[in-house]
Symmetry: C2
Subunit: 355 residues, 2 copies
DNA sequence: ACATGGCACTCATTTCCGTTGAGTGCCATG
DNA sequence: CATGGCACTCAACGGAAATGAGTGCCATGT
C-alpha cells in the first residue's frame, strides 16, 4: 500500500528529528517545523495511523513517537535525502585521507580508523577474495648458513615471506631445483587441493633440500587459508558509548561483546538486495543482541580479484544520510587509490603494493 | 617508619576484601574474618591510624575504608602474597596458549587477546628493539615483465617484502648488480644514516635498474622506522566496562579515550624501579585521566636483540596477585617459545620465525 | 597500657508521594 | 476533513522521611 505524501512528509520529519535528538518526537515539534502547514491535531491523527501501520512506535501512552524498524527501512528506501557534505566536512575528510599506501592490511585498518573517527561510530573494513586463492610463484633465497627465505606470491598479487632456520647443507643449485619443482607442482592449487600424495611426490623430486618441503607447505597452506577467510578490521568500539542509547553500561556491554570480527564477517548473510550500499536495520541483523543497532556498509573495488567493504555500526537511530555520504567519500577515494595502483605507472609512493 | 604486624594484617585484609567487593570495607567485615582475633573496635582504632598515615581513605564520614594509592603501593611491595594458579586455571590458560607461531606481530596480538580474556581486563603487548635497527640484506626477484619483488631482511631477523610494479626493461643480471650495490652500500645503516649524498651515489652505480632505487629506499626507510618505534597491540578495551568503577559511562569514556597505543608506549617513562614485573598504581601513571587505573606489566625475552612486554590495565582496585600470576604464566611460556625458536632445530611448526 | 562493649552521631542510599508537564486521543465545530 | 479544545495518562522530577552501615569516642575491664 502507498503512503500519502503527507504521511511520508511526517514520517521523514520524525526520523530526521529523532536522529538528532534521540528523544521521542511529539506532534507539536513536528507542527513547528517551517515547511509543515498542518496543525498538531492533524499530525496527531496521521501519527496514530502511522503507528497502526507499524511504522512508528510509542514508548508509552503519553510519550511522543519513535520510528520502528519498518519505519527506518521505509525511510532509507524511499524518503532519505542525499546528504551533501559541507566544504568543511570534505576538507577534514580529505585531510585525513592523506595516507601512504603501506601494507595493504594496514591501509585498510587505517581507513577503518578514519571512518570511525569521521562518523563517531564503530567502523570496520573487510577485504575478501572473489574466487579461488592459489599460490602463483615460489622463490627461495639462501640467507645464511642455516637460514632460508621463502617468498610466496599468491593470486591477488599478495606476497608473503618466511624465514626458515634449518641446519641443512645445500647449495644455491639445490634451492633452484626445489623452487622449480614447487613452481611446477604446487601453483594454481587451492589449500584443499594439497593432497598427501602430491606432497610426497614433490618431496621425492625435491633433491637435497627436501627437508624444507614440510615447512614450505605448512606456510603456504596457512597463507592461503588466511587469505581465503575475509580479513576483518574492526575499530572504534568505544565510540558507541557516546551514543545516548548506550548510556546504560549493561546495554553497551551486551552489544560490544557480540560485536567482533566474527559477527562482522557474518553480516553479508543477512543481505537481501544487491548494490554498492547496504543497510541492515535493527532486527534485520544477524545476532539478536544487535537488534537495536544498524549497519551501513559500502563496497569498493580493489582489483586483483579482491573486493572490499567498509561499514559503520551504530544505533538504529543513526543519521543514515550523513553516514552514507561519508562512507561514499571514503569508498570512492579508496577505489581511486586502487585504480591508480593497478595502472603500472607513476613513480610516487602510492602506486605500488607491498606486504 | 615501620608498621606493626597488626596494621599490616589489617591493611592486607582491607585490600583483599576491597579487591573482590569494590565496596568500602568496614571494621565489622574485617573482624569477621576467620584469622582476625580482635574486636571491631580495636580494628577501628587501627584503621583510624592507617587513615592518618595516608594508607587508607574514607569516601565519606560514615563509610568504610578504601586503600589509597600509597596503600596499594605498600600492599604490592610488601604484603602481597603470591597467588597460585589453581589446576583449573592453569588448564584453561594452557589450553589457550596452544597457538601457532605465525607472523610475529600476529602472535603478540593473539597473546594480548588471551591475556585480556584471562584477566577480564584490557591488555597489551609491546615488542621493542634494543639497539639500532638496520638493513641486513637485500634481494631482488624478477616476478614478471614489469614486476619485481624486493625482499628486505633487517636486524632482529625480520624479513619484509614489497611488490614493485614499474615498466622497466632489465635483465636478471641488472637486478643482481643492483642488489649487490644495495648490499654493499645500504646495509648496517639506521634510517637516519640514509643521506642524500649516499643515495645519489648508489643511484649512479645502480646501472640499468636505477629507477628502482627510490622505491626501494622508501620502503626500506618505512620498514626501519616502523621497527624502531615499538609495536604496541592493545585489546579488550571494553572489558573495562565489566568493572564496577566504570559503571558510569562518562568515567569509562574518559579512560577509554586516553587508553590508546600512544599512551601505552609512554608508560615505561613512569617506571622507577627495575625488574621483570612492574606496577604503576593510580596517580603514578603518566596521564592524569588514568589516575584511577593501574597497570601491571611484565617483561619477557624475545632474543634477536628484541624485548617484549605484556601488560594489563585495570582499576586501581585490581587483584594484583592474580593478575601477576597470570601474566607470569604467559610471559614464561612466551619466553619458552622464543628460546625454542632461537635454537635451530626441530622440524615442527613453532620453531621458525616468519613475517 | 591496651582491648572491648556501648552509644550517639553522620551521611549515603532508598523509598514514598505529590507535582509537573509533555503528549495523546477524541470530540465538537467550522 | 482540518482544527481547536479538553480530559486523561504517565514518565520524570523533587523533597521528605526512613533506613542502616559505619565511625569516633568514652567508660569499663583486664
Amino acid at each position: 500500500m502507498e503512503l500519502s505524501d503527507r504521511k511520508k512528509q511526517i514520517l521523514r520529519a520524525i526520523v530526521d528529528i529523532y536522529v538528532s535528538t534521540a528523544e521521542p518526537v511529539g506532534s507539536k515539534a513536528i507542527a513547528a517545523l517551517p515547511d509543515m502547514s498542518f496543525s498538531s491535531a492533524t499530525i496527531r491523527n496521521e501519527m496514530a495511523e502511522l503507528t497502526q501501520m507499524g511504522l512508528l512506535e510509542q514508548p508509552h501512552t503519553s510519550a511522543g513517537r519513535v520510528p520502528s524498524a519498518a519505519g527506518y527501512r521505509l525511510y532509507i528506501d524511499e524518503l532519505m535525502q542525499d546528504y551533501r557534505l559541507s566544504v568543511d566536512e570534505t576538507k577534514s575528510l580529505s585531510g585525513a585521507m592523506e595516507l601512504k599506501m603501506q601494507e595493504f592490511d594496514k591501509l585498510l585498518s587505517q581507513v577503518g580508523q578514519l571512518v570511525s573517527k569521521a562518523t563517531n561510530l564503530p567502523a570496520y573494513t573487510v577485504a575478501s577474495h572473489q574466487g579461488d586463492v592459489t599460490a602463483k610463484r615460489y622463490d627461495l633465497i639462501m640467507a645464511g648458513p642455516d637460514s632460508f627465505i621463502l617468498v610466496l606470491m599468491t593470486t591477488g598479487e599478495v606476497v608473503k615471506n618466511k624465514l626458515i632456520k634449518l641446519p641443512l647443507e645445500v647449495s644455491e643449485q639445490d634451492l633452484k631445483l626445489l623452487s622449480a619443482v614447487l613452481n611446477a607442482s604446487l601453483t594454481e592449487l587451492t589449500a584443499e587441493e594439497f593432497t598427501n600424495e602430491l606432497l610426497s611426490r614433490v618431496t621425492r623430486n625435491a633433491g637435497a633440500a627436501a627437508s624444507l618441503v614440510p615447512v614450505i607447505v605448512d606456510f603456504t597452506l596457512s597463507v592461503l587459508r588466511e587469505q581465503e577467510r575475509s580479513n576483518v578490521h574492526l575499530t572504534g568500539h568505544m565510540r558507541l558509548l557516546g551514543q545516548p542509547e548506550y548510556r546504560d553500561v549493561e546495554k553497551a556491554q551486551e552489544v560490544l561483546e557480540t560485536l567482533d570480527e566474527e559477527t562482522i564477517s557474518n553480516l553479508p548473510a543477512a543481505l537481501h538486495q544487491q548494490g554498492p550500499v547496504q543497510f541492515l536495520v535493527g532486527p534485520e541483523n544477524v545476532a539478536k543482541e544487535l537488534k537495536d543497532t544498524s549497519v551501513v556498509m559500502m563496497r569498493f573495488d580493489i582489483g586483483e580479484g579482491m573486493q572490499g567493504t567498509i561499514g559503520v555500526v551504530g544505533p538504529t537511530r543513526m543519521d543514515y544520510a550523513k553516514v552514507t555520504a561519508k562512507l561514499s567519500y571514503f569508498a570512492e577515494n579508496l577505489g581511486k587509490m586502487f585504480q591508480k595502483n593497478a595502472a603500472p605507472a607513476l613513480p610516487d609512493s602510492i602506486e605500488t603494493k607491498e606486504d
